[in-house]
Amino acid sequence: MKITQGQFSFLPDLSDQQIRAQIEYAVQNRWAVNVEFTDDPHPRNTYWEMWDLPMFDLRDPAGALLEVNNCRKAYPNHYIRVTAFDSSRGWETPRMSFIVNRPKEEPGFRLNRQEVDGRAIRYTVHSYATEKPAGSRY
């Protein structure tokens, strides 16, 4: 099951040229570019691991693309995303976030139903991948 999170995730995976063009957009806006990775893509897991440091004051996407590729080399079978952080007052938040690498097999999620208080139902999402310990999930 292809995970859809962030921008462009309903499209086919971005090519390197398309990734470069997106980072160019972030760079032109003076947003700090980050590369992050995880093997727990639960939608509530907002804290992905940082790859290297955020890149401030880039003028060109080449440096960020370099780190995307370094991260891919180190974690070929993880989810990797690029985020662009806008530090300007009033925003102070990521303005872009998109996946640039995903595992070959994505086992997806199961919906758990729990009956509580009579017949009321609570739902929760369980990621099959997390049944294995961190680091050996994909």
Binding site: Q7, Q18, Y25, M55, R59, D60
Partner: protein, 311 residues
């Protein structure tokens, strides 16, 4: 999203200049030259920088090389991007930093670097304080410089032979790799005193072999320094009167013989002090100065300098 489209249009515009020329069949060197708008920067270089003949000639040669390279690419003669890392050697105040900024602009207009900015650093910006600090620091600077020019002033401080575990070595190794593998992403310019640079190159043949252009910046002659002074004043809407110009020539003659003389930088500093005295003179005089008076540096603003009284 339209973002990608907007970004791409920038590139396609640039290449269309060349395409127009191509449609007319033959592409002439002149057309290619005009399309690059590089003449504008070369003219500016001539106008704003006094002297520096050998430097200007070298820059023209590099521009010619890149233009011919562009034409060759259009004839499908593959070359691979030429190496354009450089060393700028010369005494302080001979215009190395200034020329580096112009160089970035020229390389940008010729399509050799994508953005044309210049990141100017020294050892402290690259080398860390403890184990594991240097590599991220150096890489951060390199990533910021990508698309433009990385200017490393007094580059020889990266190498400290007296300490074999100096972290500068790590920076040098990263630079070596980047200068080889990321030639399309950035141009590295190393600058510093002539002699120290040659010692540095002798101990670091790897760096030396990656540098294609060694450009020497000669000291300025007294006449050139005076011309620089006039140019600097004009830029700030000041001027010498006749006696002041003579006095400043005398000032230069003395100043050039002193220690720590730093060519055009000493000129700038000398002028700054003259402006200070000029302001004080007007202030002491009181009343309403005319615009003529506000503009004109007089001999006494120069002659009050310590340079005339030291000996």
């Amino acid at each position: 999203m339209s973002q990608a489209g907007e970004v791409m249009s920038d590139d396609s515009e640039r290449s269309s200049v060349g395409e127009q020329a191509e449609k007319s069949g033959q592409i002439s060197l002149e057309e290619e030259f005009r399309a690059s708008n590089v003449q504008e920067v070369l003219d500016k270089l001539d106008r704003e920088l006094v002297g520096l003949k050998p430097v200007k000639t070298r820059i023209r040669e590099i521009a010619a090389l890149l233009l011919v390279d562009r034409l060759r690419a259009k004839h499908n003669l593959v070359t691979g991007a030429p190496t354009l890392h450089m060393s700028f050697t010369g005494n302080p105040g001979t215009g190395k930093t200034t020329v580096a900024f112009r160089m970035a602009e020229i390389l940008h207009r010729l399509g050799y670097v994508r953005k044309g900015h210049l990141v100017s650093v020294t050892r402290d910006d690259l080398v860390g304080q403890y184990i594991g600090h240097t590599a991220p620091k150096t890489k951060e600077v390199i990533k910021r410089a990508m698309g433009g020019v990385l200017f490393i002033d007094e580059a020889y401080y990266l190498y400290r032979p007296e300490n074999e575990r100096d972290y500068g070595q790590e920076t040098i190794e990263i630079l070596l790799q980047v200068m080889e593998e990321n030639r399309e992403d950035l141009v590295v310019i190393l600058a510093g005193y002539q002699e120290r640079m040659s010692t540095f190159f002798k101990s670091n043949p790897g760096i030396r072999s990656r540098i294609a252009h060694h450009i020497e910046f000669p000291d300025y002659t007294a006449q050139e320094l005076l011309a620089i002074a006039n140019l600097m004043l004009a830029e700030q809407n000041y001027r010498f009167d006749e006696a002041a110009e003579k006095a400043f020539a005398g000032y230069l003659e003395r100043r050039m013989k002193q220690e720590h003389f730093a060519n055009a930088r000493s000129v700038r500093n000398g002028l700054d002090r003259a402006r200070l005295r000029h302001a004080n003179r007007l202030f002491a005089k009181g009343g309403e100065p005319t615009s003529e008076e506000l503009m004109t540096i007089e001999a006494e603003d120069i002659l009050a300098s310590r340079v005339f009284h030291d000996d």
